[in-house]
Structure formats: structure tokens, C-alpha cells
């Protein structure tokens, strides 16, 4: 072990400890810097992960940033994040407005993943959860103005399941109807076709990461099916 570095032979314990402490301090400084850089780069609210991606924290443990999913994507939807992209350096993501996910039946990106960062147990692409579409600007949406745009509804790969059209009275004229696109967050895969197709300059419907788009009932809320419970309450009075 010591044959290769003669100067070390004369090293005494004090020198050894001092040198080790110095290196360890340097390594510690470098380490804090690295963690700071890594922590500063987080997934942006408009950056979507490929189908079947693990939750973000686990995804960052697992992903080796090899780009096999990107190369497997037949539509060039996926890309590896550059610096200053809204995703941590080198990880796969896509922007729905630019190129949405085409939801391939054979899910080649998930099959290509060697690390399990994309969960291989996903076999039905309609069960993917890349994000949730949210009609975020009702004021700008043409359907809310009483027009029959419906483009987001028509391009949805899960037509009438993930986005449906619900009719209501148009109080503006009081004798026309509004046809409102409504997203079912249970069904929406977050493929981004709606955001991509929205005819506005800036889309009124946007796909957001599930963690940002979805609420969660409080732990003490014991109602399993709040919809039917509230209906009973309305019809039969409150029975706690």
C-alpha cells in the first residue's frame, strides 16, 4: 500500500490527522455547494415527467439521466433538462404546450427505463398520471364566452372521460347556453393534448403536476363519498 508514495512513509499521526481533516473540510465545503446547487433546481410547475414517473423525490433518487426514455419516445416529446430548464439537470421532462405526450399503447419510454424511475408496473397508458389539466383562466376561455370552441374537449384522447362538456345557462344573454369543458381529475393522464391545442395565444387550460393541481381531504374527513353524503344531507337533514 505504501510503496507508491515514499514521502508518506515519514508521515506521523499528527500530520496524517491534519491532512485528513483538511481534505474532509474541503470535501464538506464541496458537498454543501453541491447540495445547494441540486436543491436550487426543482421541477417547474409547467414541466411534466414522463408517464409512470415516481413521485418527484423518489424520481430524483432513481433516475440516472441516461436518456434512454428520450431516445425511445417516437414523437420527440421527451427531452433531457438543460441547465436553467424547469427541471433538474439531465432529467427527462416535457412541455405540454410544445409537444404533448401521444400516449403510445406500448409505452416505449417506460419500457426503456433501466432504473425503475419510470415504474414498469404501468401497462395501461390511460392510467398514467403525468399531470392534471386545469382550466385555469375562465375569463380567457372561449367556451366561457359562450362560443363553441371545444378544441380541448375534442383533442382529448380520453374524450368524455377526462374532459366532458357540461351545459349551463348563459346569464350574459339569458337565453343562450354555455358549454363548459370540465376536467375529471381522476381520469386525466396529463398528456397535455388540450394545452397544446388551446387556440389562445396563452392557453386557458394548462396541465399542472398532480401535486400542484389536486387537493386532498383532511385526515379526519371520514366521508368516503362526499358527493352522495352531501346529497343525503340536503334531502334528509344532517345526521352526523
Amino acid at each position: 500500500m505504501t510503496t507508491q508514495s515514499p514521502p508518506l512513509k515519514g508521515l506521523n499521526r499528527r500530520q496524517f490527522l491534519a491532512t485528513s481533516a483538511r481534505y474532509a473540510c474541503a470535501a464538506g465545503l464541496v458537498g454543501s455547494g453541491l447540495v445547494a446547487i441540486a436543491r436550487a433546481q426543482q421541477l417547474g410547475p409547467q414541466a411534466l415527467r414522463p408517464p409512470a414517473a415516481l413521485a418527484e423525490a423518489e424520481f430524483l433518487s432513481a433516475c440516472v439521466r441516461c436518456g434512454l426514455c428520450v431516445e425511445a419516445c417516437p414523437y420527440d416529446t421527451l427531452q433531457l433538462a438543460r441547465w436553467f430548464a424547469p427541471a433538474p439537470m439531465g432529467t427527462p421532462w416535457f412541455s405540454a404546450r410544445d409537444i404533448p405526450c401521444e400516449m403510445c399503447d406500448d409505452i416505449p419510454c417506460v419500457k426503456a427505463c433501466p432504473s425503475g424511475a419510470l415504474d414498469p408496473s404501468l401497462h395501461d397508458i390511460s392510467e398514467a398520471k403525468m399531470g392534471v389539466a386545469v382550466l385555469i383562466d375562465e375569463k380567457a376561455c372561449l367556451n366561457f364566452k359562450g362560443l363553441r370552441c371545444d378544441v380541448c374537449y375534442r383533442v382529448c384522447p380520453l374524450l368524455d372521460q377526462a374532459i366532458s362538456i357540461e351545459m349551463s345557462r348563459n346569464h350574459h344573454s339569458d337565453h343562450h347556453a354555455l358549454f363548459i369543458p370540465v376536467v375529471n381529475s381522476d381520469k386525466c393522464t396529463g398528456c397535455g393534448k388540450c394545452e397544446h391545442a388551446c387556440v389562445l395565444d396563452v392557453p386557458a387550460i394548462k396541465v399542472l403536476p398532480p401535486a400542484l393541481a389536486q387537493g386532498k381531504a383532511a385526515a379526519h374527513d371520514t366521508y368516503q363519498d362526499t358527493g352522495s353524503v352531501t346529497l343525503e344531507m340536503l334531502n334528509g337533514g344532517f345526521k352526523p
Binding site: 447540495v35 423525490a57 423518489e58 430524483l60 431516445e71 433538462a81 439531465g90 433501466p114 425503475g116
Partner: protein
């Protein structure tokens, strides 16, 4: 060349000819560019022989390969990757364990071309020698890179690891990552000689450890012919290993830090150095002798 007499390794070129005085350099560049081309043919030309990048890849759609350092980091975050990644890391580990660990650095790694260029510029323009830095710092870096996933739960080093960053820049157009490579180039050129590859890089440190038991080594076989011209010292990325082999008890460079680049073989007019099998009887005798004398 306008000043053939001042040309580096002029003696070797005069005695052995241009090819023999550059053969391992040229073979290494060919090897590095071949690996790069195999990866690049997919995204550039649609010919998919080697998919992915140096972090993890798939050869001919069947053989998984993976970087042992990246895979270790993933394991240390607590995530159990799919078998494909583990198998890939084992295959690569065995390959370099057998061929000599830091063969990766000198024959495959793209960053080596950048840092070799910086070293060449230093030599070409006679930049002053910089103080010797402790080469063992890289093992602290390796420990750090393996410790951080345990503390934070994510593969921190992969944000800055220049090896896949350079590949991602070339294969996936992630050009902003080039800034890291430029920083390494400038540090090697202006701050300290061989700063990155020989002092900091944890990838090289791990491959070095993997190659500790490899039979492939370089030895100063004909060291009696050495005329102290110092050409090997000028060119060697780990020059601290040369003196023991040339003047010490053991001719074999058995230290894991040797990248087996073979440049010392190239530039030596006296043909002192050769690639050798360390299990060759001749070296075992030397090794025993060295141990007995200690």
C-alpha cells in the same frame, strides 16, 4: 513544425518514427471517438447500436451497461433499481476490473480529451509548473459523492458530473452543460496542472479502485536504458507514479491511479515502458523482493 529541435518528444519521434511515438495517443483518441460515435449514431443518424449515454445504455438492444458510480449513488439513496441497471453496472465493473480500471479515463471518457488538450497547451506554451496538489483528494470526493445520496436521498453528484454532461451536450443538445466542461478546461489550463482528472474526479477514483486487481499494468521494463530526458514526466497525468517505477524497487506501476494511457511508452526514445501482465512471474519476483526489503 518550424522548430523541430524544440518539439516535444523529438528524440522518440526521431528514433521511433511519428506513428510509434504517437501510437497509443492516436489509438486512444480513436477509441474515445468510436465510443462517442456509437452513441451519437442513434440521435444523429438513426442507427441505434448503442442507446443512452455513459450513465446507462443498451448495446444492440440487448446488453445493458451502466456506470458503477451512478448505480452506487442510486443504491445509496435507498432506491432499488431494476435488475437491468444492476446488471449493467456489474458488467462494466467486470470489464474495467479486468482491463485496468482507469482505462475508462484514458480510452473512453470524453473529458479526458478536454483535459489532455489543456495539458498539451500548458506544455506547448511552457506555462510554469504549478504546485503539486494531493492526488488523494479524489478519494475524499468519491466518499463525498457516495455519502450525499445517503444524507439527502438523491443523486446529488449527477447535477454536476461532467462525464455524462459532455455526452448529454453532444447527444441530446444540452449545450448549456458545456459551461462545466469549459470551467474544467480553464481550471486545468490556468489553476493547476491536471486538476480535474488527477485530483478531483470521483469517477476516475472509483474506476481506479475497480482496476486495483487488474492484470494489465505498465512497467518500466528497460529502465536501465533511461537517460533522464523527463519526457515521460512532462506527459504523464499521474507523474508521481513514474519515479518509483524508474528508480524504486518495483518496475511495475501497480498503483490504481495509473490511467494506462500508454503515453510514456510513446514518448520514450529508449523504449523503457511496456504494457505488462502483472501476474507475469518476472514481476511477482520483483514484488516479493520489494516486500521483503521493507
Amino acid at each position: 513544425m518550424s522548430h523541430p529541435s524544440s518539439r516535444f518528444a523529438a528524440a522518440a519521434i526521431a528514433r521511433l518514427g511519428f506513428w510509434k511515438a504517437h501510437r497509443f495517443l492516436l489509438l486512444r483518441r480513436a477509441s474515445q471517438l468510436t465510443v462517442l460515435t456509437l452513441f451519437a449514431m442513434g440521435p444523429w443518424a438513426g442507427i441505434w447500436l448503442l442507446q443512452g449515454n455513459l450513465s446507462a445504455s443498451l448495446l444492440l438492444d440487448t446488453v445493458p451497461l451502466a456506470d458503477p458510480l451512478t448505480t452506487l449513488q442510486v443504491l445509496l439513496t435507498g432506491h432499488l433499481p431494476q435488475f437491468q441497471l444492476l446488471l449493467g453496472a456489474i458488467l462494466i465493473g467486470l470489464f474495467y476490473g479486468l482491463l485496468g480500471g482507469r482505462v475508462f479515463c484514458s480510452w473512453v471518457c470524453p473529458v479526458n480529451m478536454v483535459t489532455d488538450f489543456a495539458a498539451w497547451l500548458r506544455r506547448r506554451f511552457n506555462l510554469p509548473r504549478t504546485p503539486e496538489l494531493p492526488g488523494k483528494f479524489r478519494y475524499f470526493m468519491l466518499a463525498l459523492v457516495l455519502l450525499l445520496p445517503m444524507l439527502t436521498g438523491f443523486t446529488v453528484w449527477e447535477w454536476l458530473n461532467p462525464v455524462p454532461i459532455l455526452y448529454r451536450a453532444l447527444l441530446f443538445g444540452n449545450v448549456t452543460g458545456i459551461s462545466i466542461i469549459v470551467a474544467i478546461f480553464l481550471a486545468d489550463l490556468l489553476l493547476a496542472e491536471r486538476l480535474w482528472c488527477s485530483h478531483v474526479c470521483p469517477t476516475g477514483a472509483l474506476y481506479g479502485l475497480l482496476g486495483k486487481l487488474s492484470p494489465v499494468k505498465i512497467a518500466a521494463v528497460k529502465r536501465e536504458a533511461c537517460n533522464n530526458c523527463m519526457d515521460c514526466f512532462s506527459v504523464c497525468p499521474e507523474r508521481q507514479l513514474l519515479k518509483p517505477a524508474l528508480k524504486g524497487q518495483q518496475r511495475l506501476i501497480s498503483d490504481a491511479d495509473c490511467t494506462l494511457c500508454g503515453r510514456c511508452i510513446d514518448v520514450c526514445a529508449a523504449e523503457v515502458f511496456q504494457y505488462k501482465n502483472r501476474f507475469n512471474k518476472e514481476f511477482q519476483r520483483f514484488a516479493h523482493k520489494a516486500e521483503n526489503e521493507q
